[in-house]
Symmetry: C2
Subunit: 287 residues, 2 copies
DNA sequence: TTGCTCCTCACGTCACGTGAGGTGGC
DNA sequence: TTGCTCCTCACGTCACGTGAGGTGGC
C-alpha cells in the first residue's frame, strides 16, 4: 500500500504518518525507487495510534503500548499516570478559582509549592512501581503530602526520597508479577479508600479492632502460619516484597525520609507502631 | 534593578525573564550600554506570571490577564476555559479506562468523535460569549452534544454553528455588561444544574408547574409589565439580549442548526415550544 | 588583567503543518 | 508531454533550556 491510500484509510496526513515511521511506531519497507510500501499491520497500528493520540498519550507512550508484551497492562500504566495528572490539574483549578475570587497570589503560591512537591513524588512513585501497586502507593501517600517544605532538613529528606524513587528496581519473578497484577488489578479508588479507612480504624483503636475482627484475623493468622501459605503465590509474593523492602532501602531510606518530610506521616507511623505492638502481642507469628 | 537581582527575587531563569520581555509581558528600559533595567512593577508582574504559569495558563493568556482592565474577570474567563478542558479530559480518561478494560478501539473512536465535536462547539461558545454567560451556555448545551455526526446534513449544520460562533460579536453597553457579570458571576455548576432542572420540570409538565409556582410567576409577570422593569438594568439587559439574538442569527442560524445537529436538542425545543404556548396563554405579556 | 555580569545569536524540545524543489509512474 | 504521486529537506509552532562567543564594569 502506498502512502496516499494509507492516509485515506486511517484519516491522517502524510506528515503524521512519516513522523510515526521516523519514530519507529510503524515499519514500512522501502522499495528501490524510494517509495515506501505499507502493510496491513501498519494500518492497524495507525488506527490504534490515532485513538491513543486523541486520548492524550504521547507518541513515546504509544510506542511503549504498541510494543508491550501485555498491551492492556501498558494501557493501565498510562491510565494511572493520566489519572494523577488530572487530579493535580483539578487541584490547580481550585487554586485558580481561589485566585479569581481573592487575588491573593502569595497564598496561592505557597499552596502551589506543596502541590508541586506532591506531584513530583507521586509521579516518581508511579514510575518506580508501575501498574496497580504504584496506584495504591499514590493513593496511600497522597494524603501525607500536602504541606510544603519548610526547612533544610525537609528539603534534604525530599531529595533522598527522589533519589530512592529514581534508583529502585522493583522486580518480581514473572509469575509473581502476574499474580500481583491480578490481585491489585481491580483496585479502584473507592476500594483503596475503604482499605485505608479500615487500616485507620485498626490503627486508631487496635484493641477494639482486634475484638471485632477476631474471627477473620484468627483464620488469617492460622493460614499465615501454615505451610500452604509459604508455598502459595501470596506467601511467595509476601516474602519477595519484604525482601525488596529491606534490600532496596524502602524501610531504611524512603520511610524515614517520609517521616521527616511530612509531620502527618510521622504521626501516622507512630500510631501504626503502637498498634503493631498490641497486634504482635496477640499474634506473635506475624512478626 | 539588573537581571540577576530580578531573577533571584522572583526565582526565575534569565532566559524565562528575557522571554517574557520579548513577548511584552514586562517592560524593562534599555540603558546606553545595552543593559536592561527592571523596575519594581516588573518584579510584581513576574511574581504573578510565575503563579499563573504554574497554574497552567499560556503566556499569551497571562498577557491578557495582566493587561486586562478587570483582572478578576479575565481570570474567571480563563478559569472557564480550563474547567471545560478538564471536563473533556475526564471524559477522555473514561474512554481510556474503557480501552484498557475492553480493548475495543473502534467503539472508543466513535465516542471520541462525539466528544471532540462537543469540545469544538463548547470552546467556541466560551470564546464567543466570555465570562459567566458563556459558562451557562456551555452547561446548557453540553447535554445535547453527545451524539457524533452521522450524515452530511448534520455535518453542514455543524459547520454553520462554527461559522456563527466565530462571527458573533457579543457586545453590551458597558454598564449592562457589568450588571450582567454581577448577576451571572456567582453561577456555579450546581446552581446552573438546579436552573436546568427547574426549566426541565416546567417544560415537562407546564400546567402543574404554572399551578405550583403561581404566586411567584404572578409577581414576576406584574414586574415585567411595569415601567420600572423597562428602565431597570434587568429590563434593558433583556431588551439588548433579545436584539442581539435577532440581529446576529442566534435565533435564525444557531438554534435551527443545533436542532439539525442534535436530535435530542430538537426534542427539547419542541417540548419547549409546547410549554411556551401554554405559558403565553396564561401570561400573554411575556411574548 | 581577572572574574563576574551582561548581551545576542543559535540550536534543541514535541508532534506535527506547510510549503519548496525535485523525481517517479502512467 | 502532462498531471498526479512520491520523495527529502527546511522552517514554523510554544516556552523556554543550554550553550557559544563576545562585551561591559569593577
Amino acid at each position: 500500500m502506498q502512502i496516499k491510500n494509507l492516509c485515506d484509510a486511517c484519516k491522517m496526513t502524510k506528515k503524521a504518518v512519516e513522523y510515526y515511521a521516523e519514530k519507529g511506531l510503524i515499519h514500512p519497507r522501502t522499495l528501490e525507487n524510494g517509495y515506501r510500501n505499507f502493510g496491513e499491520e501498519d494500518l492497524e497500528s495507525l488506527k490504534k495510534i490515532k485513538v491513543l493520540r486523541r486520548l492524550g498519550l504521547s507518541v513515546q507512550s504509544i510506542k511503549e503500548v504498541l510494543t508491550a508484551a501485555d498491551e492492556q497492562r501498558a494501557l493501565r500504566t498510562f491510565l494511572n499516570i493520566e489519572e494523577l495528572e488530572r487530579k493535580i490539574e483539578g487541584e490547580k483549578q481550585e487554586l485558580l478559582q481561589e485566585l479569581a475570587a481573592k487575588k491573593d497570589y502569595e497564598a496561592v503560591s505557597l499552596r502551589l509549592d506543596g502541590l508541586e512537591q506532591k506531584e513530583t513524588i507521586l509521579r516518581r512513585l508511579l514510575n518506580a512501581f508501575p501498574g496497580s501497586y504504584g496506584k495504591y502507593l499514590c493513593l496511600h501517600f497522597a494524603r501525607y503530602l500536602k504541606e510544603p517544605i519548610q526547612n533544610r532538613e525537609q528539603e534534604e529528606a525530599f531529595q533522598r526520597i527522589l533519589g530512592f524513587l529514581d534508583a529502585v528496581q522493583f522486580s518480581l519473578s514473572p509469575d509473581l508479577q502476574e499474580y500481583f497484577e491480578m490481585v491489585t488489578g481491580n483496585f479502584d479508588e473507592s476500594f483503596v479508600e475503604s482499605l485505608e479507612k479500615n487500616m485507620e480504624a485498626a490503627v486508631d483503636d487496635p484493641k477494639s479492632y482486634l475484638e471485632s475482627n477476631r474471627e477473620i484475623l484468627e483464620t488469617y493468622a492460622q493460614w499465615k502460619r501454615s505451610e500452604d501459605f509459604q508455598n502459595s503465590p501470596a506467601g511467595r509474593l509476601y516474602a519477595q516484597l519484604e525482601k525488596l523492602n529491606r534490600e532496596q532501602g524502602y524501610d531504611t531510606v524512603f520511610i524515614p525520609a517520609m517521616k521527616i518530610l511530612s509531620p502527618s506521616y510521622r504521626r501516622y507511623q507512630e500510631e501504626l507502631k503502637k498498634a503493631d505492638c498490641i497486634f504482635r502481642e496477640r499474634y506473635p507469628e506475624f512478626s
